[in-house]
């Protein structure tokens, strides 16, 4: 999934990560947008290939941790091609609502088409929006989920504050993101495997650089404990994380007090 935001008035000379590179804050926004514009149409196929299909099980686990019930309102942030929104839709039912939000129009177009094709448009709304200043009222969601999107954000702290604002008290934030494997051998094997992703990207999508960014962005992303501290710092309570596949991915959970 995609996301990055440009600050309208960033301090002069302020830089941020774009994979291993340091780039000006405003440039990251455009470069991330270009990455996801380039891969949008083949994004789901590549996900299946890179995760060997396990991303479906991981997303199901995320969905179970959401604790959603019929009638709830959920925000699928940086939801791109709508994989999670499609799963949330039958759970919240006709009385509930899912908002699929992403800043990237190309990804959202793929998501919107999938939702319409599956006949789920009645309780899913698609909204192009910025995670760092969400265009929603305070206290209006029972759950906000951001899957494989947080690492692409320029200012993660600001996005977490924005999420906290739109969540209802007692509402739950779920952050599914790549993380750090706990076992040294698995870590080595995973590094070797992920080294193949740019090659697969070149073969399937015709874009090696986007997948090189993906691999690099995973490696510079905060580990489990650092992200947990970020959630605590943003004001979430009952924070915890669940390692999946030995920590290759992790699901962080936080509750709005």
């Amino acid at each position: 999934m995609t996301h990055s935001t440009a600050d309208p008035n960033p301090p002069q000379g302020e830089t941020t990560h774009f994979g291993y590179q340091k780039v000006p804050v405003n440039e990251k926004h455009e470069r991330v947008a270009e990455v996801f514009r380039s891969v949008a149409t083949r994004y789901d196929i590549m996900n299946d290939l890179m995760s060997l299909g396990t991303h479906r099980l991981i997303k199901r686990f995320t969905l179970e941790l959401s604790g959603l019930r019929q009638g709830n309102r959920v925000l699928d942030l940086a939801g791109g091609t709508g994989d999670l929104s499609i799963r949330f839709s039958p759970i919240v039912g006709k009385e509930g609502h899912v908002i699929l939000a992403d800043i990237n129009a190309a990804m959202l177009k793929v998501g919107r088409d999938r939702i319409i094709d599956r006949g789920l448009a009645s309780n899913i709304t698609v909204a192009q929006s910025d995670a760092e200043c969400l265009p929603f009222a305070d206290n209006c969601f029972d759950c906000v989920c951001i899957a494989y999107g947080l690492r692409n954000l320029t200012r993660k702290e600001r996005a977490l504050e924005s999420i906290l604002r739109v969540l209802k008290p007692g509402g739950r934030l779920l952050v599914l993101e790549f993380s750090k494997p706990q076992n040294r051998f698995i870590s080595k094997a995973y590094d070797a495997f992920s080294g193949l992703w740019p090659i697969a990207g070149k073969a399937i999508v015709g874009d090696k650089e986007s997948y090189r960014y993906l691999v690099e962005s995973i490696r510079v992303h905060p580990d489990q404990e650092a992200l947990l501290a970020m959630l605590d710092g943003a004001g979430f309570v009952d924070t915890r994380f669940h390692n999946v596949l030995n920590g290759i991915s992790a699901i962080h959970v936080g509750v709005k007090p």
Binding site: I58, R60, F61, E64, L65, G67, R69, Q70, V244, V255
Partner: protein
């Protein structure tokens, strides 16, 4: 908890099969409908498993998340060995299905009873349920195998009971046979009747004696 991904891998096909059945069988769907928004946590021993059944409108969801992890309270919880769980599900409607020392129930027990009673009325077509995931051919084979196994188990049980009874009654004569106990019970019954008659006669004679004394 088992690795969550393995749990999901195991529960997802089962959930899909049940939901297919609910979609195809309006009678069953109607029976389940009153339980929408309820949740039942199931914890089995031998083998140890834990999952939650979430009832939704027209469908169910099987979740590997227990109440502790979900941070919520299920409407009811059942904890038992798998064998006790199966006998609870397959017992006749008239029997006392929940009376089993191995079963630990908590939460809304009345709701569990209502659910069991609905399941008993459901008349589930297992062939259709399995057919939705395994295909008709394989599900036919599995059901035939299951029916043959349960026939064999029932016949073996009857034969074992009869042989055991013959052995303890006829061969080692540890306990008397049915006829002997019936005869002894009849004799006891006759004796009780005779005693009652004697007691009544004594009472009548005593009454006569009292009236003559008073005259």
């Amino acid at each position: 908890m088992v690795n969550p991904l393995f749990g999901i891998l195991a529960l997802t096909p089962l959930e899909q099969a049940i939901n297919c059945l609910l979609q195809d069988d309006p009678h069953l769907a109607n029976l389940i409908e009153p339980f929408a928004s309820k949740s039942l946590e199931v914890e089995t021993r031998q083998p140890a498993m834990s999952f939650t059944v979430l009832f939704e409108s027209g469908r169910i969801r099987l979740s590997i998340i227990d109440s502790a992890m979900a941070g919520s309270h299920p409407d009811a919880k059942v904890k038992a060995p798998v064998s006790a769980m199966l006998s609870m599900l397959t017992a006749d409607a008239g029997s006392r299905r929940l009376v089993n020392p191995e079963l630990e129930l908590s939460g809304d027990i009345e709701w569990i009873q209502a659910l069991l009673s609905a399941l008993h009325r459901a008349d589930i077509q297992w062939r259709d349920l399995l057919g939705a995931t395994l295909g008709d051919s394989l599900s036919d084979q599995l059901i035939s195998l299951f029916e043959a196994s349960s026939d064999w188990a029932r016949q073996s049980n009857t034969r074992l009971k009869r042989n055991l009874e013959d052995y303890v009654k006829e061969e080692i004569r540890v306990v008397p046979g049915h006829h002997e106990t019936d005869r002894f019970a009849d004799q006891l019954h006759d004796l009780r009747l005779q005693l009652d008659r004697i007691a009544a006669r004594v009472q009548a004679l005593d009454a006569q004696l009292q009236s003559r004394i008073s005259d």
